[in-house]
């Protein structure tokens, strides 16, 4: 079993974190969300994470094309009222993917990197990965460059690509026509609100004319587009899962479909990221790339004779995830609100552990290319109570 080596640090204190805007530093049980340690990663391990993300993204694009061509929307659980939107967004480059986060097992102490899932639509852990873990290096007098963390810079660059629509962002200033960019979250969660405000801030630094509004303050007109305070916004980022829009606010799904089809606004992350987010894609990937070293065997049926993890297609934060032994008996499981979704079964893989037995899962951010990692520390299933642990590159 691979072991995680840790470096003890003094984590940034709450007052400093709150000043930054990172308000969710304490979990509901009163324990700190940030660990007082950093995971030691070697440069070649960081390099391998970087390469893995780039390769996986290309594979997701292939798999997305396969789903579109073969009309597999039902199979991967895309709600029927989003299928048009998914297709529409897939067909035109203006629907640029801003960022996502791969959750990965392994990658440490010689263990191979394995894809657990891809949070392509509404990834969080952005603030802690891009800002807080770097501040930890700085506040502890450590080498500020010893981290695989270009998340902020790569996001800024990728925002510019919404306009240049190519790798080079050189021509952003001459091409940007002043289209206004609205950023929204659902009211009531400081984490979501400030994750979105961080993204808004990065976009405004990239050169966009930006604004923030809670989604309940935003108005939608199928023929005219998206408005806030009677002002029209051509670009809208929403940290709201597409499947939630489809199921909880179906009228909004309908309005957005018209707005996008009428070229009145572009919505981010694009609807096709819901395909990537669906855990059924892990099965599609296994079909397309059987035995690929970055993948775990995944099926719509139980894996006979193999310990496996059963996950709902659109569960989040470990909700309704079960671990089954080789005989299909449930060893451990989380309750949750995602039980009604169809499930996939993914081969179980041991996560790297520290001396105390805590398990670590890497979160690899991707914004046009792999751009940084952070870790979650938890038990058998990473959930809402798992902790965030930064990293440092040594060796």
């Amino acid at each position: 079993m691979s072991m995680v080596e840790l470096l003890k640090i003094t984590p940034p204190d709450s007052a400093y974190l709150e000043k930054l805007g990172f308000l969710w530093h304490t979990d509901s049980d009163g324990t700190p969300y940030l660990t007082d340690t950093l995971v030691k990663v070697t440069e070649s391990e960081a390099e391998a994470f970087y390469e893995a993300g780039n390769e996986l993204y290309d594979m997701f694009v292939e798999a997305g094309e396969y789903v579109i061509e073969n009309n597999l929307f039902h199979e991967i659980g895309i709600p029927f009222n989003l299928v048009d939107m998914v297709r529409e967004s897939w067909e035109n480059d203006v629907h640029w993917h801003i960022y996502g986060r791969f959750d990965l097992a392994g990658g440490i102490d010689g263990e191979p990197i394995k894809l657990l899932e891809f949070n392509a639509d509404t990834p969080t852990a952005l603030f802690e990965s891009s800002i807080v873990q770097w501040a930890a290096l700085r506040n502890n007098g450590l080498d500020e460059s010893a981290q695989f963390n270009m998340i902020y810079e790569k996001l800024e660059e990728n925002f510019k690509r919404l306009v240049t629509l190519e790798e080079s962002v050189e021509n952003f200033d001459s091409l940007y026509e002043g289209w206004k960019f609205l950023f929204s979250s659902v009211r009531g969660s400081a984490e979501e609100e400030n994750t979105v405000k961080l993204l808004e801030y990065i976009a405004s630094n990239a050169g966009f004319d930006t604004e923030f509004a809670f989604v309940d303050e935003v108005e939608f007109d199928p023929a005219e587009g998206i408005f806030h305070d009677d002002e029209n916004f051509e670009l809208w980022f929403k940290l709201i899962p597409w499947e939630s829009i489809a199921l909880d606010e179906p009228d909004l799904a309908m309005l957005l479909t018209s707005i996008v089809k009428n070229h009145k606004a572009i919505v981010f992350n694009p609807a096709y990221t819901l395909m990537f987010q669906s855990k059924a894609m892990l099965k599609i990937l296994w079909d397309l790339y059987p035995g690929h070293p970055l993948l775990l065997e995944t099926s719509f049926d139980r894996l006979d004779g193999k310990k496996c993890v059963s996950k709902p297609l659109f569960g989040r934060e470990g909700g309704n995830v079960d671990i089954l032994d080789a005989n299909g008996e449930r060893i451990v499981g989380n309750g949750g609100e995602y039980g009604e979704y169809p499930r996939i079964y993914q081969e179980y893989v041991e996560l790297p552990r520290d001396m105390q037995g805590h398990k670590y899962q890497a979160g690899l951010f991707f914004a046009y290319e792999s751009c940084g990692i952070g870790f979650r520390r938890g038990g058998e299933i990473m959930d809402n109570m798992s902790k965030f642990c930064g990293h440092i590159i040594e060796g």
């Binding site: 000043k19 930054l20 805007g21 308000l23 969710w24 979990d27 440069e43 390099e47 970087y50 203006v94 986060r101 959750d103 639509d121 509404t122 990834p123 969080t124 800002i131 770097w134 500020e144 460059s145 981290q147 695989f148 810079e153 306009v163 629509l165 021509n171 200033d173 001459s174 091409l175 940007y176 026509e177 002043g178 289209w179 659902v186 009531g188 969660s189 984490e191 979501e192 400030n194 405004s204 004319d209 930006t210 309940d216 303050e217 108005e219 007109d221 199928p222 023929a223 005219e224 408005f227 029209n232 051509e234 709201i240 899962p241 909880d248 309005l255 572009i266 987010q277 989040r316 934060e317």
Partner: protein, 205 residues
């Protein structure tokens, strides 16, 4: 991996430096005050009809957003042809040289006047159209950043409504709408259900 060892990485990013110094809320106040936006043409594929209005003088008759850029030339004698890539490359290259030495009407102060009166040369009209940003992207700020360019391109449209219709169909709306078909208030009731300033961790996966 070069960027792993990029020393002083935050020295190069003003935005991130400011964020660490004054926090997100502090930065946001600042960026609200300082928010500006340039109004320059945006690259998006377009279907463009260019019409010859007098011998060798051209105006933009129609343009729409399209999957790929196509330019149709409507000649004085009424014939229409789709311009080939080679023709476009040749014309734009020629125009780029004129932009470079300042003789193109697109970058001359009197360009708008020339355009609105007799019409532009063919290369000028192509670059003034919505397709110009795509086809001429490599010319860069020398063209698109030139203040005379914006007024010249507006004047190259056959009539003002072609220009404003084009701007609208590319998604850019001038004034806010008073239409009553707007709907809002989504997620009004679902937001506050049990969430607090504590971590919701809801969308992380």
């Amino acid at each position: 991996m070069s960027y792993l060892k990029k020393v002083g990485r935050y020295g190069g990013s003003v935005g991130l430096g400011a964020l660490l110094a004054v926090g997100l809320a502090g930065c946001q106040q600042r960026s609200d005050e300082g928010a500006t936006a340039s109004s320059v043409q945006r690259a998006q594929p377009a279907f463009v009809v260019i019409e010859e209005v007098a011998k060798g003088r051209y105006k933009i008759a129609e343009e729409f957003p399209a999957k790929e850029t196509r330019i149709v030339l409507k000649k004085l004698d009424g014939t229409e042809k789709v311009m080939t890539k080679e023709e476009l490359d040749y014309l734009i290259k020629k125009e780029a040289a004129k932009i470079e030495d300042g003789t193109s009407n697109l970058v001359k102060p009197e360009g708008a006047q020339v355009a609105s009166q007799g019409g532009m040369g063919i290369g000028e009209a192509i670059l003034a159209s919505a397709a110009g940003a795509v086809l001429g992207s490599w010319i860069g700020s020398k063209l698109f950043g030139n203040p005379n360019y914006q007024s010249a391109r507006k004047a190259t449209y056959k009539n003002p409504s072609t220009y404003s219709r084009s701007v609208n169909s590319f998604g850019k709306k001038g004034a806010s709408s008073t239409s009553s078909s707007k709907r809002g208030g989504f997620y009004r009731s679902s937001g506050s259900g049990g969430r607090s300033s504590a971590r919701s961790g809801f969308y992380g996966g």
